[in-house]
């Protein structure tokens, strides 16, 4: 590696503009004649829309127009789609109700849009929105899974009887039954995976501009995948043909999954820009973000694990109800199925697994992928179960895990995944050493003498990232392929632009992707620019989510770089009158190995573009593209150990130590990886002890602001002790696995295992607030 190559902790190129307030986000963009949209939203969790009277609103100062759901229907704009077809175990297709961008007839969650006001200023739009009179007929609502599946529950969509979207299964039910019949011990429990609000720092926003002369739309939007947005807006919503729609995702302030999806507001802004013949901007406020950004998690599960007399796992049986909210968001159907149940084998050799997942409609905000997407739910279930088993079987939790670790690779689990490589024992060893596992009993005793309840908990997670082979996901119902694209443009002066289909909204791609190029060519990263997020500039790509941009996005760059280097070597060999096979690239120069002859990259680039002296038959130019389709998922894995103290008087948790040992394969920029792990851990800890989206009995979101939704702050979390073990991923040329979600996947179980260890009561749900922990301390309930 060079000082800026692979493996170097290079300072992030993009941070200068971010930390000096010079980032350019959607709301920073202003265009001539811009109007502002404000949505009229349902105050009810479930109601019939009997009428909308906008007469008074239309007469208010500055109002350009008031548009309603019926007009969208009349304009034949498509309903929102769910892009992953999941079938029930009886073979039937999932039962989806229609989701119009603005509700013409029925609202099904608080915050659902029914109309939009377009006005000259933001405040005028808000003022007029208050004057739009919507006549609602309230209906009984069911925001919770248990309410929605109860006999006689309110019916949300006629298409989904009993509010069941699907009843899906994976694995071999008979084999599991057989395993349980042979079990020496069975461990079972029920658990809740709490609903979370993603809370990206930048709320969603859209600025849509229609150019009448060219019949062309431009949409600036907060998207993790602008090409997919364009595809969906064109092919399914019929707002504009693809070649007449440019989608730009400029600087985007965080996503965590919530900006993958195509939401009603962005689509309405685009449609409205043609309707009112003026550019339309919508910027969500924090309250709208709480109410309308797709939420995450929200499972209720029952799990049972069978062990033989030697404490080897024989089988696992899981039944999960997943709350989808009121509508099926873009990738929602895949999250509790192919991103969840396929990871239920964890790091363990489990001969038989069967999981049933029942997807449920409720009167709540739609739920979709949120950092980890299904994998945190799987890890939490499995690692809580392993800890519970260790306690019930009275064995050391580390030993129980170790005894059941998968140790030979590749390993085919009973739930689709084929793990390529890993060393689970190595990461557990390293974590136990870093956490001084052996010294814990003494520390616990000392804490007890000081009136504190000390606990330790571990979590050994695995995740499937870099999704994934397009053919494989296609066979599982995905509506898209999950490859990535790249184009490498060497400019005539030797500077380089990388056009990537990945999108950076906090990940630091402008640095890490440049490091790959710097590494290969031996040039400084300042000579490399990363271009992303604009469908007019960049070839079709799939965007960033699921920790895929290193494994898939960078692999595409790698492939394109190989092509560029191959051509450049041919040119260099020609100019140096040497054999192509003798050319090596070092420090930005093409050298003839074993000689002092060399030519610098800019000279090769210039030669490519002047084309005065190229090998016979060679095309001018130095620009190559590649599409990379992975051969498998990647499988980051690791061990987390958390040590904490519970204050018996208040139930408050204080962290003593948090050790995270991850195997991400090769690290491109260890500093950025560390930052990603920190962020993930904080979100995992947030889920464990702080965060929850809570609805009241009438379906109102109680936690619709930061006054009630507890986001982790710096003093809520410990300093983390991070390290890595490494097995290189054999499935991609860089050996990388992905690091974006690990922390959020592995942390929650470690924390709850530690708290339940501290208080000596295994029954505790997330978030383990001081109130809940205090009540769970034996004697307090």
């Amino acid at each position: 590696m060079g000082v800026e190559g692979i493996g170097a902790s290079v300072v992030r190129k993009e941070d200068r503009r971010f930390i000096t307030g010079k980032g350019r986000y959607v709301d920073d963009i202003k265009v001539q004649g811009m109007t502002f949209a404000h949505f009229v939203r349902s105050p009810h969790a479930h109601a019939k829309v009997k009428g909308i009277d906008a007469t008074a609103a239309k007469k208010m100062p500055g109002v350009v127009d008031v548009l309603t759901g019926q007009q969208i229907v009349d304009d034949k704009i498509g309903n929102l789609i769910c892009g992953w077809a999941v079938h029930s175990k009886d073979g039937s297709a999932m039962k989806m109700g229609a989701w119009p961008a603005m509700a013409p007839e029925t609202v099904r969650f608080v915050g659902q849009a029914v109309a939009v006001v377009i006005a000259e200023t933001k405040n005028q739009a808000r003022d007029a929105a208050e004057a739009v009179v919507v006549d609602y007929e309230e209906l009984p609502s069911a925001h919770h899974i248990s309410m929605a599946i109860a006999p006689g529950a309110p019916q949300l969509h006629p298409e989904a009887p009993g509010n069941i979207v699907y009843d899906w299964e994976i694995g071999d039910e008979a084999a599991v039954k057989d395993a349980f019949s042979k079990a020496a011990n069975v461990v079972s429990f029920e658990l809740v995976n709490n609903r979370l609000v993603p809370n990206a720092m930048e709320p969603r926003a859209a600025l849509a501009e229609y150019n009448e002369a060219e019949e062309h739309f431009t949409l600036y939007t907060t998207s993790q995948n602008p090409h997919v947005a364009r595809l969906v807006l064109s092919a399914f919503y019929n707002v504009a043909p693809e070649n007449k729609l440019r989608v730009v995702a400029p600087d985007v302030g965080g996503g965590f999954g919530s900006k993958i999806f195509i939401y009603p507001e962005e689509m309405v802004a685009l449609w409205a820009s043609k309707k009112v013949r003026r550019p339309v901007k919508w910027t969500g406020d924090r309250n709208e973000a709480f109410l309308t950004d797709a939420h995450g998690r929200d499972h209720i599960s029952k799990a049972e694990m069978a062990f033989d007399k030697d404490n080897k796992i024989l089988g696992l049986r899981v039944k999960t109800h997943a709350n989808f909210g009121a509508y099926m968001s873009l990738f929602s159907s895949s999250v509790p199925t192919y991103l969840y149940a396929t990871l239920l084998s964890g790091q363990y050799n489990i001969p038989a697994i069967h999981a049933e997942v029942i997807g449920v409609y409720t009167n709540s905000t739609p739920v979709d992928a949120y950092r980890g997407a299904g994998r945190p739910e799987a890890c939490y279930l499995l690692e809580r179960l392993m800890e519970t088993a260790a306690r019930q079987l009275k064995v050391d939790p580390a030993e129980l895990r170790r005894k059941n670790f998968i140790t030979s690779f590749p390993h085919q689990t009973p739930v689709i995944m084929a793990y390529d490589v890993g060393d689970f024992g190595a990461s557990l060893d390293a974590a136990m050493k870093a956490a001084d596992y052996a010294g814990f009993p003494a520390r616990k005793a000392k804490a007890k003498s000081e009136g504190k309840l000390r606990g330790m908990g571990m979590s050994c997670y695995i995740e499937a990232c870099g999704i994934a082979p397009s053919k494989a996901v296609g066979s599982l119902g995905a509506g898209v392929g999950l490859w990535e694209s790249a184009e490498v443009r060497v400019n005539p002066v030797g500077t380089i632009e990388i056009l990537t289909g990945s999108h950076s909204h906090g990940q630091g791609h402008e640095t890490t992707f440049a490091q790959l190029v710097a590494d290969r060519l031996g040039i400084p990263i300042s000579q490399v620019s990363i271009v992303h997020g604009d469908t007019d500039k960049v070839q079709f790509g799939m965007g960033t989510y699921g920790s895929r941009s290193a494994a898939v996005g960078m692999s595409a760059i790698f492939k394109a770089m190989e092509k560029v280097e191959s051509k450049a070597k041919k040119i260099a060999a020609h100019l140096l009158e040497a054999s192509e096979g003798d050319i090596v690239i070092e420090n930005g120069e093409f050298k003839v190995t074993g000689t002092d002859k060399s030519i610098a990259l800019p000279m090769v680039a210039l030669a490519a573009y002047t084309a005065h002296n190229l090998p016979d038959g060679m095309e001018p130019g130095l620009k190559e593209g590649a599409f990379y389709d992975p051969t498998n998922f990647t499988f980051p894995a690791g061990s987390y150990i958390c040590e904490l103290e519970v204050d018996p008087g208040t139930g408050k948790t204080s962290f003593v130590n948090f050790v995270a040992v991850d195997d991400f394969g090769r690290l491109i920029n260890p500093m950025i990886v560390e930052g990603q792990v920190h962020g993930g851990l904080v979100q995992g800890i947030g889920q464990a002890i702080l965060e929850a989206a809570v609805y009241d009995d009438t379906g109102q979101l109680v936690t619709a602001s930061f006054m009630d939704y507890a986001m982790p702050r710096a003093d809520d979390v410990p300093s983390f002790k991070l390290s890595h073990t490494t097995t290189l991923c054999p499935g991609n040329p860089l050996g990388v696995k992905g690091c974006g979600e690990a922390g959020a996947i592995g942390a929650s179980a470690a924390v709850i295992n530690a708290i339940t260890d501290a208080i000596g009561n295994n029954k505790l749900e997330m978030p383990a607030t001081p109130d809940r922990v205090w009540h769970a301390i034996p004697g307090n309930a």
Binding site: G649, I689, T703
Partner: protein, 266 residues
Amino acid sequence: MYSTTYHRPSTVEEAVALFAKGSDAKYLAGGHTLLPVMKQRLTAPSDVIDIARIPALIGIEASADTLTIKAATTYVDIVNSADVKRTIPAIAHLTSVVGDPAVRARGTIGGSVATNDPSADYPAAVLALNATIKTNKRSIAAEDFFKGLFATALDENEIITAISFPIPAKAGYSKMRNPASRFALTGVFVVQTKSGEIRVAATGASQNGVMRVPAIEAALKANWSASALDGVKISDEGLMADIHGSSDYRANLIKVMAQRAVTAAG
């Protein structure tokens, strides 16, 4: 936010006159309660009169028996005041755990006390220390000032000018923070006056706002120590319950926070 007219008077008299002129005027003294509500369009004052910058309302004075904090003194100035730290360090501590640095830079003691949020910290100190609330019209004893949730003895156009705290023999404050808002999930302020009276006030607990806690006072009068409260049982009747804390949890917190406040008071 609806449109409003912002005023920045330089004297109390000017502020009072501006208030009288407005059709639905509101005083602003930091704004941590008023501005969020205005942003959510839940209130629409015609005039917002910013009294936080009136020089006569800013400052801290200490005599042998009394600490007087003028109403528009910001939290950060109270935290950093040598007079406060010397005379009633418990007030400096209480102030240091209000909100976060941004809140403490803007918030004022008068604004907090006039708002009487049931989970605010200062009411506990004011009531337990038996402070006197001085206004542009009169002096009001703490016992007579707090009238339930967000309600006080203040007339509509009455401005707190200062709060005078008798300097106690001992005082301590302990607070369990609401994990989201950082208001007091329950906070308890304990006082032993120079004449030996024990006064204990809890905030964040009662459905009626700040309250005295006679059971704790009685136990501490018999024996000023944390362990004296071990056997005290606080009823959860009339206590708040929300997603962050049930009423029985808050009842427990009253006792536990009181114990810690006594320990802190020494």
